[in-house]
């Protein structure tokens, strides 16, 4: 009880600040955000104006659109009416029958929009309903609907529309029906595909487990998730239908004369394209702008209709790099020089690997993310260093920075040095670095399937190491590949060498990865969560294999993991990471028996154990921080049970705890005595 109360205090929202902006959208917020995003402002204003014009055409049009005046035929824009008495100006000119172009355009908007919206409503409703049913219930209904979709997609829509209109005759409602019949499959296809994937989502199963009926699941759970793609689709369809209606009018099959439509205005203007170009220009422009505005606003709709995306748009745009830098920098500046504990100051070249004050940032659209904030460690030949930390603590990023496989951008190494066998990898030319790392440093990953190329046999992928780096012939390389597969104990290697990665189980794939990693006898092997995706019995096999190989070759091993048990089993030294920093490092036995940092202590006490059942687990309150908003002072202070006043503003340096140990905690001594 008390534990959970304490927990609440630390449990803030995961991403606090920017989200406030999206909560409860008020008209004011909407306007302010729109004003910032001017690109969106124009299409929306245009569409709003169009809507007003369509609704209020009777009042807004300066003239009756049907009123002919043969004396004003083809008058250019801004001419005065020929009938002096009327004192009437043709702002956009007059058509061949002397009708006012502007008035016709305004009334045309009404027709175009009405046809567009009504058709999209009809085809959308039909298509979405059929798509939902087909995707949710599958079976014969799905077959039927999809067959219909295939057939209709095969026939050119305009041709089909013309044919149907030819049979049933033209007119507003006939047009709407024709568009519904020829466009529904666009929605049906998209809706079905999405429904199929959503119905497999755990949240839909969750709805089933609380007893929701099928129709509730379809309309309350699946449909809202489809809303934004469908809305986007519908917006684009409005543009397509308006264009199609213009095309049909152009061919004389749309809304019948004399009612003004944009399409027929273009058709009529065509004959006068040289003598009176404005006749075709203005309706053409209206069609173009409408289509363009609809397209632009669809992208905007996609964003605001999605609660996951919405805040990005409502929140102020991230200030460019500098500002964030300035915010975060002072927090760490104190620890720069001090983060180098006395024992790591050995001369360059002394250790196999010496990482010093390494820093990595990600420049993301949402701002600067400090993934690695000045970490230092050393590793000798034959040694195993475990980097222990929770998800997002920067384990992988720091390892990738060491061997130089970070994607930059978005990642930038902003400081520090990485000495490998005396050479600073961050200073040498990329080509040299690639060669050095390719031959002497190897890395294996958590997910061996994504690290292996599915298109090549495993044998050829292992052999490629020899062919590329040693210029070995293909034959010889394959022989060596088989030898290696044997060495990592893949049964019947000669037969399996020509198999593809997907034909191997997870554990065997990891063996293949290890085989290609040790192919060139590297001096350093970095294993990033090599067993996290595997079952315990398989994990035991892989860890044993790694230990054996290390024994044989004397390579240095960096083991990245979140599993305290695996660390205890194999590591000589451990570095505990939190929020992109090493908070404690030293020999494994000392750290596990007498942790000097509250985070390490908390972790050790909170893991359940297979060798004893505890009354209840100790727990660390709260959750790991968002790396965009790392707490000031000690990054662990909001969750720390030992927190004192100075922790929230004074970042602890890596204090030297003993000969080979250091811990970044102001109170490390209290902790040591407490144990």
């Amino acid at each position: 009880m008390t534990a959970s109360n304490q927990m609440t205090a630390g449990d803030g929202p995961a991403v606090p600040d920017p989200l406030e902006a999206a909560r409860g959208i008020t008209a004011r917020k909407l306007l302010r955000a729109l004003w910032r995003d001017k690109l969106m402002l124009f299409p929306l204003i245009f569409l709003a104006a169009l809507f007003v014009a369509a609704v209020g055409a009777d009042f807004l049009a300066p003239h009756d659109p049907l009123d002919q005046n043969l004396r004003s035929r083809n008058l250019p824009p801004m001419s005065m009416s020929a009938a002096e008495a009327e004192g009437f100006r043709y702002i956009l000119g007059a058509d061949p029958l002397g009708r006012d172009l502007l008035s016709r355009l305004i009334h045309g908007a009404r027709v175009s929009l009405a046809v567009g919206l009504a058709s999209v409503l009809a085809s959308g409703t039909l298509g979405v309903l059929l798509g939902l049913m087909a995707g949710y219930h599958r079976g014969w209904l799905d077959d039927l609907v999809m067959r219909g979709v295939d057939v209709l997609m095969g026939i050119p829509g305009l041709l089909l529309a013309l044919f149907i209109l030819f049979l049933v005759g033209t007119g507003f409602w006939n047009l709407v029906i024709v568009f519904a019949l020829t466009r529904w499959m666009i929605y049906a296809r998209v809706t079905r595909g999405l429904t199929l994937s959503f119905r497999e989502q755990p949240f839909v199963e969750g709805a089933q487990t609380i007893g929701c009926s099928d129709s509730r699941i379809i309309f309350h759970h699946i449909l809202p998730n489809l809303a934004s793609p469908i809305l986007v689709l519908a917006t684009l369809e409005v543009a397509i239908v308006i264009l199609a209606e213009a095309g049909l009018s152009f061919l004389g099959m749309g809304i019948q004369p004399p009612a003004p439509t944009w399409g027929r205005m273009v058709a009529e203007g065509r004959d006068y394209i040289t003598s009176a170009p404005w006749l075709i220009t203005f309706p053409g422009l209206a069609i173009l702008l409408t289509a363009l505005s609809l397209n632009l606003s669809s992208a905007w709709l996609r964003m605001v209709s999605d609660p996951v995306q919405r805040w990005r748009w409502f929140a102020s745009p991230p200030e460019p790099g500098r500002a964030t830098d300035a915010q975060i920098a002072p927090v760490y500046s104190g620890s720069i020089e001090m983060s180098e504990p006395a024992h790591t100051s050995a001369a360059n070249g002394h250790h196999l690997l010496e990482v010093n004050d390494l820093r990595v940032n990600f420049r993301t659209p949402e701002g600067m993310l400090n993934a690695v904030n000045g970490i230092s460690y050393t590793l000798d030949r034959g040694q195993t260093l475990a980097i222990l930390g929770e998800s997002g603590s920067g384990k992988t990023v720091s390892a990738e920075a060491v061997i130089g496989i970070l994607d930059s951008p978005p990642a930038f190494v902003t400081g520090g040095s990485v000495h490998f066998d005396g050479v600073d990898l961050l200073q040498v030319k990329p080509a040299r670095r690639r060669r050095l790392c390719g031959e002497r440093i190897a890395m294996i990953f958590q997910d061996p399937l994504s690290a292996l190329n599915p298109a090549y046999t495993v044998g050829s992928q292992i052999a490629a190491m020899f062919q590329e780096h040693r210029g070995t012939s293909k034959r010889e390389a394959t022989a060596k590949a088989i030898e290696l597969m044997d060495r990592v104990r893949i049964p019947s290697a000669p037969e399996r060498v020509n198999d593809y990665p997907h034909q191997f189980s997870g554990g065997m794939r990891q063996r293949v990865m290890i085989a290609s990693a040790i192919a060139l006898d590297p001096d350093l092997l970095i294993a990033d969560e090599p067993t996290t995706a595997l079952d315990v019995t398989i994990q035991a096999q892989i860890m044993e294999l790694l230990a054996e190989l290390q024994e044989e070759t004397g390579m240095g091993l960096i083991l990245i993991t979140h599993d305290l048990g695996v660390v205890a089993d194999v590591a000589d030294k451990v570095a505990v990471m939190y929020a992109g920093q090493i908070v404690e490092t030293g020999p494994i036995e000392e750290i596990y028996t007498r942790p000097a940092h509250p985070y390490t202590k908390g972790l050790l006490e909170s893991v359940p154990r297979v060798d004893e059942k505890m009354e209840s687990l100790q727990q660390i309150s709260g959750a790991p921080p968002n790396l965009r908003l790392i707490p000031s002072g000690c990054p662990f202070h909001p969750r720390c049970a030992y927190v004192i006043d100075r922790c929230s503003d004074e970042p602890p340096p890596l204090y030297e705890v003993s000969q080979e140990r250091s811990a970044a905690c102001h109170r490390f001594e209290d902790l040591l005595h407490a144990n």
Binding site: F203, T209, E589, V610, A623
Partner: protein, 355 residues
């Protein structure tokens, strides 16, 4: 068949000190999935024997842990019990009613009493619903439990119960961390005041430091509300921490079941022994001397399981009889903890294994 005895007297597997009626009796549960074999020459149908004759009892207020490796059928049991999946055979009596023969309407009503917490905290909440709506939805589906005007109040109470803030009701799921989302999932499961909650890997996706929070929360809720859990996980340590009894599964069957102490301290099935010895202990002291059974080979495929004992391809004690007779799940030592091995032994004897 171990189930013969169960059929004769439901509850023969139960421990002697629990005389009351079991809440749930699962008998001989079978779930086979047809597979379309890929490859144009071998085109044909096989079956994946995801669950192949599983029986167990669950008592009120008890936690039964289900452990085993990938694909051993743990989640399939949960899904068939929730009727998310139709079983191929067998029966499951919840307070005497067979879950599998109930009508659709009766199943809906039963959902009030059995709830589920899912593994993936990121995909198991509808991203378009506010947290308050998610938690209150069960009351909309089952009208008459909580009147509309009291729902807001109850939602806030539930949020506080699981360690969140009452104001979180207005937020969307994506605004929460994994551990917090799992709390929301638990709050929704609690909304209907169920008697049984099936937790399918509820902490597997969580960070180490957050995992303990959720385990403690589940334990606390059980103590306060008298809930029963079926707790499914592949992490043996987590299962030990929360379970009263544990069933170890291998390839669709239970190979050993018993009290938490029995399974973890006195395992008799070679598979259980191998699993336990494979789990690394977070204690570096004396690790060099630690004996460990490292199994050779890989998990066999559930499409084409080995004859006889399905563990025999990896078992260091296997003999001819193991490939002919399927070992029955019976109590061989009168410890109230049955094990399905012809050569079940009390001593772990890892030294005899392939170390």
């Amino acid at each position: 068949m171990p189930t013969d005895s169960t059929a004769a007297a439901p509850g023969s597997l139960e421990e002697p000190e629990q005389p009351e009626q079991p809440l749930l009796v699962v008998k001989d549960l079978v779930k086979h999935y047809p597979t379309e074999r890929k490859g144009f020459l071998r085109a044909g149908r096989g079956t994946i024997k995801a669950v192949d004759g599983v029986s167990f009892n669950l008592h009120p207020g008890e936690t039964l842990g289900l452990v085993g490796e990938t694909g051993c059928g743990k989640s399939t049991i949960a899904r068939t019990l929730m009727r998310l999946e139709e079983p191929t055979g067998g029966a499951a009596y919840f307070k005497g009613r067979d879950l599998f023969t109930l009508s659709k309407a009766a199943v809906q009503a039963l959902r009030r009493e059995i709830q589920m917490v899912f593994q993936d905290p990121f995909a198991s909440l509808n991203p378009r619903m506010e947290v308050g709506q998610i938690i209150a939805e069960p009351w909309v589906v089952h009208p008459g439990i909580v009147p509309k005007e009291e729902q807001g109040e109850r939602v806030r109470a539930l949020l506080e119960r699981v360690g969140l803030l009452p104001t979180d009701a207005r937020r969307y799921p994506h605004e929460f961390s994994g551990g917090q989302r799992q709390r929301i999932g638990i709050a929704r499961a609690l909304a209907l005041q169920p008697e049984l909650i099936i937790c399918d890997e509820p902490v597997s996706a969580l960070d180490v430091s957050v995992q303990a929070q959720v385990i403690n929360l589940l334990a606390e809720l059980q103590a306060d509300l008298g809930l029963s859990y079926i707790f499914i996980a592949h992490d043996l340590a987590v299962v030990r921490q929360i379970s009263d009894r544990v069933a170890v599964m291998h390839l669709g069957r239970i190979v050993e079941v018993g009290g938490e102490e029995e399974i973890y301290v006195r395992p008799t099935h070679p598979y259980t022994q191998a699993l336990l010895s494979a789990v690394p202990v977070p204690n570096p002291v004396g690790r060099k001397e630690r004996q460990r059974i490292v199994l050779e080979g890989e998990l066999p495929s559930p499409v084409d399981p080995p004859s006889g004992c399905t563990f025999r391809t990896r078992c260091w004690k296997a003999e001819a009889v193991c490939s002919q007779d399927r070992p029955q799940l019976v109590d061989r030592f009168d410890h109230g903890h049955p094990s399905a091995c012809h050569f079940a032994e009390l001593q772990a004897a890892p030294a005899a294994g392939i170390a």
